[in-house]
Structures are given as C-alpha cells and as structure tokens.
C-alpha cells in the first residue's frame, strides 16, 4: 500500500504503476460533468484557468447531502468516460491526477501518456465506506450545481487503485 499526500510531486506521480493500491491524504477537488463544462467554458473565453492545477487531484463525484454531524454523505466515484472530452483539454494545462471509475477513450490515453498524467480509480458503489476517509467538505465554486458543485475535500487515507499510470499501462480487463 502506497501512501501519498497532496499536492503530489512529479516524482511520486511517475513512480506509480498500474495496479498499485494507494491511500491518498490531503486536499482533493470534486468535479463532474457540469463543473467540467464550466471550467472549460471559462478557459476558452478568458484564456486562463480558474484553478491552479499543478500537483492537484480531481475526483469525479457528486455526493449525497451530509446528514447532521457528518462532513459529507455517500461519496463514491462516477464513470470517468463522460469527462474524457474535458480531461484532454485540462491535462496539457496541468491537471495530472484524476480519480473516477471505469475505462476511458483512446484519445484520453494518448494525452495521458504525452502529459505523463495518472488516472486512479476508486471502487464504485461504496460511497458510505469512502465517506469515512473524508474529514471535511466545503463547496468552493458553482454552488448552483448542487451535488455537482466543486467541493474541496480534506481526505485521510482515501483508497484508490492506479488504473492508467503515466506510461499508459492499463489495469482493466476487457
């Protein structure tokens, strides 16, 4: 089991191998379909990024509302392929670590290799268990998107598996 803390250094990122199990701690940011579209629209109109992506981790999740006394509700990954058209624009701009579930397009993999990015998966459908690794959650952008808003999560030992490493190795069986 590999323990990593965000922001993740280039050497740590490049040392990951597909199939590795990772426990992630620190700050990660949530974004899914609607937030990705907003980030990309911003990039295209303003020619600059609304966020500093360097070393940061984006997690594809839309949590359930937190019950009183809990920092977050259930919070497992959503399918990543829907973010492919956005990710291929964001990887060259510095977003190099993404967490989701399921396989992704060939185009995504090509850009991943070119930019030496890494794609991690969390186990889908275990949102109650994954919530135990989240210490804090706060909406930092696009609150109107509800569960799809960008949340800043503080996580401790959040379990992931390396799906595609920076060299394009692929963990999936097809």
């Amino acid at each position: 089991m590999i323990k990593l803390t965000t922001p993740i250094s280039k050497s740590d990122r490049l040392s990951l191998k597909s199939g590795d199990e990772v426990l992630l701690s620190g700050i990660i940011y949530t974004a899914r379909d609607a937030a990705h579209k907003k980030i990309l629209d911003y990039l295209k109109s303003k020619q600059e990024s609304p966020f500093e992506f360097d070393g940061q981790v984006v997690y594809y999740v839309g949590p359930t509302p937190a019950k009183p006394g809990y920092p977050i509700g259930s919070c497992g990954p959503t399918s990543s392929y829907r973010m492919d058209p956005f990710s291929v624009e964001l990887m060259p701009r510095g977003l190099k670590i993404m967490i989701g579930k399921g396989d992704r397009s060939e185009n995504f993999k090509d850009i991943l290799k070119q930019t030496q990015s890494v794609y991690l998966v969390a186990i889908g459908g275990i949102g109650a268990l994954l919530a135990k690794s989240v210490l804090k959650s706060e909406v930092i952008a696009y609150p109107e998107l509800q569960s799809e808003a960008i949340h800043r999560l503080e996580v401790k030992d959040f379990p992931c598996i390396v799906a595609y490493d920076a060299y394009g190795n692929d963990v999936f069986h097809k």
């Binding site: 199939g19 199990e21 609607a34 999740v61 839309g62 949590p63 359930t64 509302p65 937190a66 019950k67 809990y70 509700g73 259930s74 919070c75 497992g76 959503t78 399918s79 392929y81 579930k101 399921g102 396989d103 998966v121 186990i123 889908g124 459908g125 275990i126 949102g127 109650a128 268990l129 919530a131 135990k132 509800q146 569960s147 379990p159 598996i161 963990v171 999936f172 069986h173 097809k174």
Partner: protein
C-alpha cells in the same frame, strides 16, 4: 368502494424509497459473499470485501449505499377492485419528493434532457402501471443509478440471428460496459415483443427475485448459459479481473412479429437496490 388512502400511500412510498437506498437486500449480499469465496487475486478480493463492508456501514449508519441514489422507477400493480379519487402518479411523485429531501438522498433528475436544470427533489419518477386481479396495490421500487443504466442497449435483430445473436449481443454489451456499470452486475434481458416491449420486459426482469429462474425452459437455459459466458470474460469486479463479472442473468421473453427479434439488455450494478410493498384496499365510506 375500496381504495388506498392517499396519505398512507405517500408515507409507504417515502419509507420504501429511503429504505431501498440504505439497506441492500440480503439476496444480493449472499451472492456477493459467495462471489468473494471464489476469487483468488488481490484486486477482485479487495473490491468485493469493500462492497460487502460498505453495505454493512450503510445499514448501521443509515447512509445511502451509493451516492447515486438514482432516478426512481416504479412498477405498479393495481388490483382492478380498487378505485382512486386522487391522482395516483402525483401521490407516488410526492412520496419520492419527501423521501429524497428528508432522507438526505441525492437529487439526480433534470427537468429536460437538453436544458438540464435540476428539479431539486428527484422528481418525476418513472412509473409503469398495470391492472391485475384483486383488491391490492403492489409497488415495486428501484432507485436506478445512471452508471449501469447508461450501459444498457437494445437491438432489433433478425429472426435468423436466433439464440446465438442474442448471446453475442449480450456479451458485446457487457464488454463495451467494462468497469463503468460497477461490476459485478446483474443483467436483465428482454427478448421479443417490439421495440419498447423488449426494453420494458428487460427492466421487469431486473425486478424479479434474485434467486428465481425463468419459467420458460428456453429462457431458463439462456440465463445459465449467459451467466457462465459473461463470467468467463474475466472482466471481474470493477473490471480489475477475476471470476465475478455478473451475479445473475434474468431473461424475460414475449411473443413477437414473424420478422422481428428485438433484444434489450438492461444492466444493473452491484448496488442492486430494490424493494416492494403491498397495500390492501380499504373501505372509504
């Protein structure tokens, strides 16, 4: 006249929707535990152990099993001796609205597929009604997540394609889906009818008890053949390899046109949440 009081119906819907999202049926848990015993590799074991422990945490802490608490799907069986002086669909909708707001469930429904404004209460549900003999109302409910629903497919095969055509189509569907629908999956297959009927009977197949078998011997054989073939694909839990890609295959069939062989494949993830309730008609005079 015999009816179901509106308040009682709304309360029953609210309770069942919250319950289904939190408590995974024991028939699914049993299959997951049996699957875990068969796996030998590190990653599939890790995935299945986590899935099993997740549903325990959800049950004990009253948390949704999965963050995708779905779009609400109802199969409603209405005894023809019942009559209603209120809008039954509106009452089901109200029950869902209350469940998703008060039960801390995610609101995952948008008002229009292209305008995409969240309705903020997870309504409307999808409701299929049919009339049956008797004086009872049975509600079958499933919160259907998009991860697995999005991987479902339908094809209008030619009669000549036959059984092999159906098998090939199902296997292709599972392969294309890979890890996206959170395997191990359950597959509902509808063969025959027409375009929409095949999809509906595939959905109804997913509502069948996990342990049962199709009544028709041809469908029954297809269920066991498909289960074996799918599990030989070595996709495995979350597509990380392994013996368990699928927990069960359910095949429903219906007569069809001489020129048709529709086949629909409805995918259900391991978070196979569903429940049902039967309400007996009451005299309201």
């Amino acid at each position: 006249m015999l009816t179901i009081p509106k308040d009682k119906l709304i309360q029953a819907v609210k309770d069942m929707a919250i319950d289904a999202n939190i408590n995974l049926d024991q028939s699914v848990v049993k299959k997951l535990k049996a699957a875990l015993k068969k796996e030998t590799d590190r990653l599939p074991i890790n995935v299945l152990e986590n899935i099993i422990s997740n549903q325990d945490i959800a049950r004990n802490e009253h948390l949704p099993i999965c963050q995708d608490t779905g779009i609400a799907v109802f199969l409603v069986e209405i005894g023809y001796e019942l009559s209603f002086e209120y809008d039954l669909e509106a009452a089901l909708t109200e029950g869902i609205r209350q469940a998703y707001i008060e039960g801390y469930l995610r609101k995952s429904v948008v008002d229009h597929p292209l305008k995409r404004k969240n309705t903020l209460d997870n309504t409307p549900p999808i409701i299929h009604m049919k009339l049956v003999v008797g004086d009872q109302l049975t509600l079958h409910f499933a919160p259907k997540g998009a991860g697995s629903e999005n991987m479902s497919r339908l094809a209008m095969l030619t009669p000549g394609a036959g059984k092999q055509g159906v098998v090939d189509f199902v296997l292709e569907t599972v392969r294309l889906a890979g890890g996206k629908p959170c395997p191990p999956i359950i597959i509902g297959v509808g063969i025959g009818g027409n375009f929409e009927k095949s999809a509906l009977i595939a959905k109804e197949a997913l509502f069948r008890p996990l342990e049962d078998q199709a009544e028709d011997p041809v469908d029954r054989e297809l269920e066991s053949e498909l289960l074996e073939a799918v599990n030989n694909l070595d996709i495995g839990p979350m597509a990380l390899g392994g013996k368990t890609t699928c927990l069960a295959v359910k095949v429903n069939s219906y007569p069809c046109h001489i020129a048709s062989l529709p086949v629909a494949c409805n995918i259900q993830c391991h978070a196979a949440r569903k429940t049902h309730v039967t309400l007996k008609g009451e005299h309201n005079d």
